[in-house]
C-alpha cells in the first residue's frame, strides 16, 4: 500500500505558498485541524483564502490566522463570535463571502465529485441569488451554484491509517469528508494513527484516495464554544 505518512504538521504544510486557497474542516471549533493551523501560524504564509464554515474565535481556530493577518478572504456561512474578524471586515482588510450552509457544503461536495454546477432552492429571492442564473423546475425556482475546490484541504479525523483512510467521531465529521475530496492536496491530521489494516474497512468514512498526506496530531485542545450541561 502507498504510505502517506509525514512526520508532523510543519512538514505536511511546508509547500503551502502565499495566496493559496485552503479548505479547513470543522463546525465552530468542533473537528478543526488544530495542528495544521498552528503550523500555518509558524510558517507565516500570507494572502490565504480560507473556505470554512466558520472563522474560529478570537484566540482559537482560524481566528488565530486572522490575528496575524494571514487571511485575505473567508468563504463561510456564519462568522459570529469573532471581534478581530469584525474589525478587519469593517476596515476592508478582509473580504468575506457568506453562503447558505447547505450551499457551501454542496459546492464543496460538488468540487470533490467533479460536478461543476447544480441547482438549489436556498437563497432564491435573496441577496445570495444576485447575479446567479435562476431556473424553474416543476414550478419552483432554483439557483445555479458552482463547485468549490482548493489548493490544499486541511482536515481533522479521529482515526486514520497510513494509506489515508479516515474515521471521524461525533459531530466532528461535519465538512471534513467533502473537503478531503475537494482539495488538490489533502492533509489529514488524526488523533490516532494506525497501520494500514487496523481500521475496519466497513467503518471508513473517507477512503484514502482523497488523502495525500497524513500525520499523527498532538496536544489537541478541542475547545468548547458553548459548554452546556444539565448540572
Amino acid at each position: 500500500m502507498i504510505n502517506k505518512l509525514v512526520a508532523n504538521a510543519d512538514i505536511a504544510i511546508n509547500d503551502i505558498r502565499d495566496r493559496s486557497t485552503l479548505m479547513l474542516g470543522g463546525f465552530g471549533l468542533c473537528g478543526i485541524p488544530e495542528n495544521c493551523i498552528t503550523a500555518l501560524l509558524k510558517s507565516g504564509v500570507k494572502g490565504l483564502t480560507c473556505i470554512s464554515n466558520n472563522a474560529g474565535v478570537d484566540d482559537f481556530g482560524i481566528g488565530l490566522l486572522l490575528q496575524t493577518r494571514q487571511v485575505v478572504k473567508m468563504i463561510s456561512s456564519y462568522v459570529g463570535e469573532n471581534a478581530e474578524f469584525e474589525r478587519q471586515l469593517l476596515s476592508g482588510e478582509l473580504e468575506v463571502e457568506l453562503l447558505p450552509q447547505g450551499t457551501l457544503a454542496e459546492r464543496i461536495r460538488a468540487g470533490g465529485a467533479g460536478i461543476p454546477g447544480f441547482y438549489t432552492p436556498a437563497g432564491v429571492g435573496t441577496e445570495v441569488g444576485a447575479g446567479k442564473e435562476v431556473r424553474n423546475f416543476n414550478g419552483k425556482d432554483y439557483l445555479l451554484e458552482s463547485w468549490l475546490r482548493a489548493d490544499f484541504s486541511l482536515v481533522k479525523a479521529w482515526k486514520g491509517d497510513t494509506t489515508g483512510n479516515l474515521i471521524y467521531k461525533g459531530t466532528a465529521r461535519n465538512f471534513n469528508p467533502m473537503m478531503a475530496a475537494a482539495g488538490k492536496i489533502t492533509i489529514a491530521e488524526v488523533e490516532e494513527l494506525v497501520p494500514a489494516g487496523s481500521l475496519d474497512p466497513n467503518q471508513v468514512h473517507t477512503p484514502g484516495i482523497y488523502v495525500q498526506r497524513i500525520f499523527q496530531g498532538s496536544n489537541y485542545e478541542k475547545r468548547i464554544e458553548q459548554y452546556t450541561t444539565l448540572d
Binding site: 471549533l29 468542533c30 469593517l90 450552509q101 438549489t120 436556498a122 435573496t126 441577496e127
Partner: protein, 219 residues
C-alpha cells in the same frame, strides 16, 4: 396576557406529531424540545450532522466532539445517527425533515421571512437558515408580535434582507397563532389567554383575516 418565551415554546410544542423529524433553530425554537407532550416521539435533527439530539450532558458526559448547531454540548439518544454536512443538508433540501421551527425578525403576509441580517449591524451570516426555509414544507416561526419599539413584525412586506420567499406556514407569537397563505395573508387562529382580537389587529401590519369567534390558546 402576552405569552413569555416559554409560553410560545409550549404552544408550538402542541403542533408536533409522533414520528416527525424536526429541526429546531436557535432561541425559542430550542426551548420547544422541553415541552413536547408525553407520549409524542420525535427525532430532532441538528444540521451539523446529528439525528437524535439528546439532553444536555452531565459534567462527566461532556464530549467536545458532540455539539448541536448552536455549538452547545449535547448527548445522543438510542437510535441516533451521525453524518456529514452535505448529507445533512441533502436531508433538509430533499424534504425529509417534517417540521422546521425557527425565529424571525419579520414575516410578511406572503410568508416571506427575514431573520439573518440587519443593515448597518455586523453581519454574522445566514448559517443554515436559507437552506431550511427554502426546502421545508412545514415551517413554523416563533417570534414576538411587535418589536421592542412597538413596531409590528408581521408586515405587508419585509423591510430587512430576505432569508426566503413564501415559505412560512404558521406564526406563533406572544399574542396569537396565525396561519399564512401567500395569496390571502395572515389568518388569525388563536389568541393568547386574555389577549383580545382587537389587540392582535392593532399589532399586525400585514393583511389579517379574522373569522368568527377566535378561541384562546390551550396548552
Amino acid at each position: 396576557m402576552a405569552l413569555d418565551k416559554i409560553g410560545i415554546a409550549k404552544r408550538i410544542a402542541r403542533e408536533i406529531q409522533t414520528g416527525w423529524y424536526i429541526n429546531l433553530g436557535i432561541g425559542i425554537p430550542t426551548l420547544v424540545a422541553n415541552y413536547i407532550p408525553e407520549g409524542i416521539e420525535v427525532v430532532l435533527q441538528s444540521e451539523n450532522g446529528l439525528l437524535g439530539i439528546g439532553p444536555f450532558p452531565s459534567k462527566n458526559q461532556v464530549d467536545p466532539d458532540l455539539i448541536n448547531a448552536g455549538k452547545q454540548t449535547v448527548t445522543m439518544l438510542n437510535g441516533s445517527s451521525l453524518f456529514n454536512s452535505a448529507e445533512s443538508f441533502g436531508m433538509i433540501r430533499g424534504g425529509h425533515v417534517d417540521l422546521t421551527i425557527l425565529g424571525a425578525m419579520e414575516v410578511s403576509e406572503h410568508g416571506d421571512i427575514a431573520n439573518w441580517k440587519i443593515p448597518g449591524k455586523m453581519v454574522k451570516g445566514m448559517g443554515g437558515a436559507m437552506d431550511l426555509v427554502a426546502s421545508a414544507d412545514n415551517i413554523i416561526v416563533a417570534m414576538q408580535h411587535v418589536s421592542r419599539s412597538g413596531v409590528s413584525k408581521l408586515l405587508k412586506k419585509c423591510t430587512l434582507p430576505i432569508t426566503g420567499l413564501r415559505c412560512v406556514k404558521k406564526v406563533v407569537t406572544d399574542l396569537a397563532v396565525l396561519e399564512v397563505d401567500p395569496e390571502i395573508g395572515f389568518r388569525l387562529l388563536e389568541r393568547a389567554p386574555g389577549v383580545t382580537v382587537d389587540e392582535i389587529v392593532q399589532a399586525t401590519e400585514g393583511r389579517l383575516t379574522v373569522e368568527g369567534e377566535v378561541p384562546e390558546m390551550t396548552f
